[in-house]
Symmetry: C2
Subunit: 505 residues, 2 copies
Amino acid sequence: MRAGISVRFLAVIAAAWWTTAVHAYDLDNGNAAIEVVIPAVLPVAFSDVSPTGGDATLILRTTTLITNAWFDATAPYHPTAVGVYSRLGRRPAGESATNRNLNIALMHASYQVLNSLLPRHRQAWRDMLTGAGLDPDDTGTDLTTPVGIGNVAGQAVAQGRLHDGMNQLGDEGGRNYNPMPYMDYTGYAPVNTAYDLKDPSHWQPDLQRQGVGLYKIQQFVTPQYALTEPYSYRNPKRYHVPPPKASDHHHRALYRQQADAVLQASAELDDQRKMMAELFDNKILGLGFSAVYAALSQGLSLREFIELDFLTNMASYDAGVVVWQEKRNYDAVRPFSAIRYLYGNDPVTAWGGPGMGTVNDLPASEWKSYLEEADHPEYPSASTCFCMAHSQAARLYLGSDNLNWTVSQPAGSSRVEPGITPATDIELVFPTWTEFAADCGQSRVWAGVHFPAAIEASEQLCGVFGDTAYDYLATLLDGSAPERPPAEGLGQGGRGHGHRGRGRH
Amino acid sequence: MRAGISVRFLAVIAAAWWTTAVHAYDLDNGNAAIEVVIPAVLPVAFSDVSPTGGDATLILRTTTLITNAWFDATAPYHPTAVGVYSRLGRRPAGESATNRNLNIALMHASYQVLNSLLPRHRQAWRDMLTGAGLDPDDTGTDLTTPVGIGNVAGQAVAQGRLHDGMNQLGDEGGRNYNPMPYMDYTGYAPVNTAYDLKDPSHWQPDLQRQGVGLYKIQQFVTPQYALTEPYSYRNPKRYHVPPPKASDHHHRALYRQQADAVLQASAELDDQRKMMAELFDNKILGLGFSAVYAALSQGLSLREFIELDFLTNMASYDAGVVVWQEKRNYDAVRPFSAIRYLYGNDPVTAWGGPGMGTVNDLPASEWKSYLEEADHPEYPSASTCFCMAHSQAARLYLGSDNLNWTVSQPAGSSRVEPGITPATDIELVFPTWTEFAADCGQSRVWAGVHFPAAIEASEQLCGVFGDTAYDYLATLLDGSAPERPPAEGLGQGGRGHGHRGRGRH
């Protein structure tokens, strides 16, 4: 798996180097968000945030804060817009005649946010600015300059989300030493262990291989996401999915039926579905690049790209708060546990592992999902919810369902079956956002990490977060959004070092 | 942590490239084991076997099989030696007038073993050979040629250890699909979970951070090492350590005393001890490079280096079998659990985390060991045992206790406290193998991962594995070693696919 990522790394690093080192960066005509910031962030995201791009909560918080910083830093150059976390006045229209000032402001804002989010990579963020001809040591705060606007806007976003409930600093619960960033502070513990499925209705952490021969056990990633302040609505408790009835093993027939549906999907895997599963598993390539593609193919301006990219990230991020609330509430079993529990060593027909194709004598206990399960309970599907929110937001902003994205998948480029899948060069085609979201959802069943009900639940619920995010963006754009205090967690008690009141916008 | 490794990577890769690409490799005068094979293996060892070099069982099995291949492939060029897993006849003395044939044979043997151990990195192993002017596609088995000798000897080692009990193929227990290499097949399960210390005498898997915000729970790495066939003795059950009396929490005063000893060592950490702890934690840099240094500084020939390096690896590897037997048997608690259990949130005086120095108001529940604990129960100390066996083996082979190894540690080069520790350039000095092993052992208490009794137990026991390994090497060198069938696990039942008889040398 790592090999695939590494090749991507090298390509990205080479591209960034080419852009920023060989040519002087074109501030007037370039899109520094796409051409400077994203290439700088990608290698760190894969090396230090999520090796597969599949750890959605950490990836999404990173990308949402960065795009928020872009938005807030360029708001003064818009006729009416205001930032989420700053009100920096308005610059004369002449200052946005080219992209120069917007690019300078967004890069300085990115620098501030990245130093807050990923402080161990300070040198990479310095290089990002110097590579584009900017000075990381220019910490000016003059709000008549793009450097000052960028610095102030970026710092405000970093500060605004520092204690949003996700425990970025690792100090929640009053921890003073040895901070544990993003660590759970809500006391979640699974009812099952990796060794023993005590209750077959509930989530079991899986043993997953790392490298040649290390095995590690999953821990529910950021259960406190359920207590994190959303951008575009106040109360996550307004949103719910129906209980996952078939995951209750007392409903034996339903329980078996949904497990059989996953086995059948596993047996029917083909190259198209395998590559689809891999694309959507990687939140940077699936979610992130779809927005970049839409912006480039539809000729969006720099400002419009920033609006779309912040919007879609915010929609997904806000969707995630409710998904985590529901995941935590139902704590539902993943297919691998249910299949082992139901069938033990009995033979089943399913995908037999990398390079094996579909086999009909697979002991159920040896079945594996095509993708490794992410570190959280099964129900509802987070990926589906992100894709639904993202697609709805994009549809509203772009005024059309049309996407027309084609993703080429060269023969053998699979991360799970390298050198084998796909057998020939193939293309994944997404004519519309509706089809993009539908394939995204189904791909989680094909991948074996979800039951169909988890996809249906997210499909039913999650468009609304595209709506709320779009509505909130509209108030930011027309300047009517009320001023917003720093975000804070929604939980009881909160941090030991003095919990502020609950006032929010 | 990853940054430190990466820098080391680049240096190693650059060195290997310089050696093998810029200059045509000097087969007659070079030492390809040190100059070609080790630089090729290091980056893969850190990227895919053990990110810190601290996962000793996986690292040691890799290095032991490689050095075994070197030994077996060069035995035909020795006047009397025989291989562990092959008997390939004797070559005329003239063929070892220079290092050429030995180098060719050992590189081809390495290629065979590496393709068996780390098959996903086939391209790296091909590049290793081509970089030195050899042809990886030359699979000849003509035993009058160094290529044939290397290929046959390497394949025999790979086959000889394929089912040695470590579950390299991931098929133990009769698993037919989705192999899980090096996965436990003995049914070990901890009595405690990461969330709940049910029995304070026993091992608790820890929650460990990976990257920015992922947390994973430890699983006992390769419990089946206890059932793996050693090289140099038959029956691990002959060797034991005394029970870890103070780890039984019913002996409350002793239990507290040994926890306090770890806290005191933590409070007394200085730059010298921190860097010592880091050096010995990395089995490649601590164990591996000490042998390379001894060989280079004492002017060993290529053949002598191979003998020393195989000997010290074998001694450690064989020591590990007993250590894992005893670790599994006692399943003893690590200091972090005991300290939390004893003192809860009460303040203690100890190292307060990276960059914090020693603090006197550290809630015991927030204490962390300077190094992360490895993935196995505490007692006895594996690192100490490896160092004792390694040192005794080296002492016997070299005929002296002298080592005179100085390891430079530039200011800020710490992996745990990068940019901070050591405050100035320092040197770690090991005048003798005795002092090397003593510092190695104590460094595990300084690092906070062991109680003193675990070090004492290994110090008492483990020299003997240097003796047994040296004795076995002597029989290989004089040709008296009996022919050896492929190794197999020592457990009951074993693999489902037909367990062979128990005949061993």
